[in-house]
């Protein structure tokens, strides 16, 4: 029996190799909860790398989290393109008015200079500080929006879908700009200390577009982009379904797939056939009203479904746990992983 527990990084790397570590790794993808820890407003919290680092360090210890999640908020990327962010006290910041007001604006769009984007620089500073705290033992997760999904914030959902169907040349021009930005942004995070990049791509889920559209429009972009990102990636569909495109997602070269609470981990695991590891799929929305017993049952169900043989990182299904989820619930999730996630999983057989 191995008496010494693995470090979080060893645990994660073992499961990504489709071997069983000492226990199922757990990524509690907490962002805004750091503000609660520090007694700050969400806006104030995300205004400084020091705050986010302190929040992540405290939460990693409190919940025995197997990662640092250095994600501020999605619209930080839109800020780099000249957009604004709207903050609220009880939820994630949102992108304000679209930076692309009309289709012709795409022709003028330039790849932002990361050095001139203050929000981006705060995230990079946080990576550098977290690297010291991680001491090579805790993976640090950086985040990018995929080139294909970023336009929802750049121009709005409706205008973007209209663009895809009605103006293919402008769509390609927008993708070229976003692809260059995404690669530069991801690699800057890796250089600053990120261990891996979570490639958020909700618009590519089969909830949003057809598998055929994924194969012809989105997947080639994801494949090119991921090939140029100089570190491992996890593709996350932020609650969207992905069963029909699992093979195509694996072909992009990504290592991990973030899965929806709407789909079966067992089915996804079988279909991905060790080409991908699973990240998910606790229902973050329901989690708000879970009892400790609910949390335990949910954790056990996922582990029983997809834990055997490794290839599973237990997490929520969206890539961000809602601000309304209480600390007691998060502790109950963590305790359940500690108790039921120990390998070998004799109880589930």
């Amino acid at each position: 029996m191995n008496a010494k527990p693995m470090t979080p990084l060893q645990r994660v790397l073992t499961t990504l190799g489709h071997q069983e570590p000492d226990r199922v790794p757990m990524f509690l993808l907490l962002t805004m909860h750091g503000a609660k820890e520090l007694g700050l407003s969400i806006r104030e919290y995300f205004s400084s790398a020091d705050n986010v680092v302190e929040g992540q360090v405290r939460m990693q210890k409190k919940y025995h989290n197997d990662c640092f999640y250095n994600f501020f908020y999605a619209s930080i990327e839109v800020e780099a393109f000249g957009g604004q962010t709207i903050f609220r006290d009880d939820g994630p910041p949102n992108a304000a008015e679209p930076v692309i007001q009309k289709r012709e604006d795409i022709l003028k769009l330039q790849v932002p200079d990361l050095a001139k984007a203050p929000g981006i620089q705060q995230v990079l500073a946080a990576h550098r500080l977290l690297k010291d705290h991680a001491a090579g033992e805790i993976p640090i997760i950086g985040v990018v929006m995929s080139p294909f999904s970023l336009p929802v914030m750049q121009m709005g959902f409706e205008a973007y879908f209209d663009l895809i169907y009605e103006a293919p040349e402008l769509f390609q021009r927008l993708m070229a700009v976003n692809e260059a930005f995404c690669v530069a942004w991801a690699n800057a995070q890796l250089e600053a200390g990120a261990t891996a990049i979570c490639f958020f791509d909700p618009v590519s889920s089969q909830t949003m577009i057809t598998p055929e559209q994924y194969r012809t429009l989105s997947q080639p972009i994801a494949k090119r982009t991921i090939a140029r990102i100089q570190g491992p990636t996890a593709t996350h569909f932020a609650s969207g379904r992905c069963l029909s495109i699992v093979d195509d997602v694996a072909d992009t070269g990504t290592a991990i797939i973030g899965i929806s609470a709407d789909e079966s981990p067992a089915e996804l695991k079988a279909k991905s056939n060790k080409r991908l590891s699973l990240l998910g799929n606790l229902n973050g929305i329901e989690m708000r009203r879970w009892t400790a017993q609910d949390a335990e049952a949910a954790v056990k169900a996922i582990i029983a479904d997809a834990g055997a043989g490794g290839g599973l990182i237990l997490s929520d299904n969206h890539g961000e746990i809602p601000f309304q989820v209480e600390s007691e619930t998060l502790q109950a999730v963590s305790a359940a992983v500690q108790e039921w996630g120990r390998y070998p999983l004799k109880w589930s057989r």
């Binding site: 709207i86 609220r88 009880d90 939820g91 994630p92 949102n94 992108a95 304000a96 929802v152 709005g156 959902f157 409706e158 879908f161 895809i164 169907y165 089969q206 909830t207 949003m208 577009i209 057809t210 559209q213 609650s239 379904r241 069963l243 029909s244 609470a261 229902n283 973050g284 929305i285 329901e286 708000r288 009203r289 809602p322 601000f323 309304q324």
Partner: protein
């Protein structure tokens, strides 16, 4: 017109919508179909086909982009064959749709298009905060309010709208929809809504039921 012809037209319409084939959609809906009034084309062709596509999305067969484009195309054609001023348009009970607080308005647009493509006329309030929304609903004397949200905090603020309208003693039926209500099926009751629609088709069905209740 025979049942088999109607079924054939539905098939053509559905395939054309899924392929985003505007020309065929227009051909089917504006073609020479003797004895079929514009409103019957809406009722017998568009409503069931949008329902099939909505159900297909729910089952994972079709995508949201197809649901959105189908509704949008049908809405455009219906505006041609059944203009907003046409007396056949359904204007009562008075209703409107809104995105509460969020900045993503696709869900609202899909439901708005599906209702208009089904022959209903309704107000489009855009994106509003709870307190402003309460004032507007009261001022406009709405009987049905459809609320679309994407984020959990916005879904929870439906409670503020319900409370505000109760305080104003303004009776209105509230239908909610959006991802938080999908992922937590108890949430719509918790926030005090009268109904929850998983899809745009559900919204059309619920509005129809409420119309009968309110008649």
């Amino acid at each position: 017109m025979s049942d088999s012809t109607v079924l054939e037209l539905r098939d053509r319409l559905k395939n054309a919508l899924l392929m985003i084939d505007y020309r065929t959609v227009r051909e089917v809906l504006t073609g020479d179909h003797p004895g079929m009034t514009p409103f019957q084309r809406v009722e017998y062709l568009i409503v069931p086909v949008l329902e099939q596509i909505g159900t297909g999305w729910e089952n994972g067969e079709y995508s949201l982009s197809q649901v959105y484009m189908s509704g949008r195309i049908c809405e455009e054609v219906v505006d041609m064959i059944l203009p907003p001023s046409d007396p056949s348009r359904i204007r009562q009970p008075k209703m409107a749709i809104v995105t509460l607080e969020d900045y993503h308005v696709l869900g609202k647009r899909i439901v708005y298009s599906a209702l208009r493509a089904s022959g209903y006329e309704l107000g489009n309030y855009g994106q509003m905060q709870a307190s402003d929304l309460v004032r507007r609903v009261v001022a406009d004397r709405l009987q049905i309010l459809l609320i679309s949200v994407l984020m959990l905090p916005s879904a929870l603020h439906v409670k503020d709208v319900v409370g505000g309208l109760q305080e104003a003693k303004h009776p209105v039926k509230i239908i909610v929809g959006g991802a938080p209500f999908h992922f937590d099926q108890q949430l719509w009751r918790e926030v005090g809504a009268d109904a929850f629609g998983e899809t745009a088709t559900d919204a059309v069905r619920i509005v129809h039921q409420l119309m009968e209740e309110l008649a």
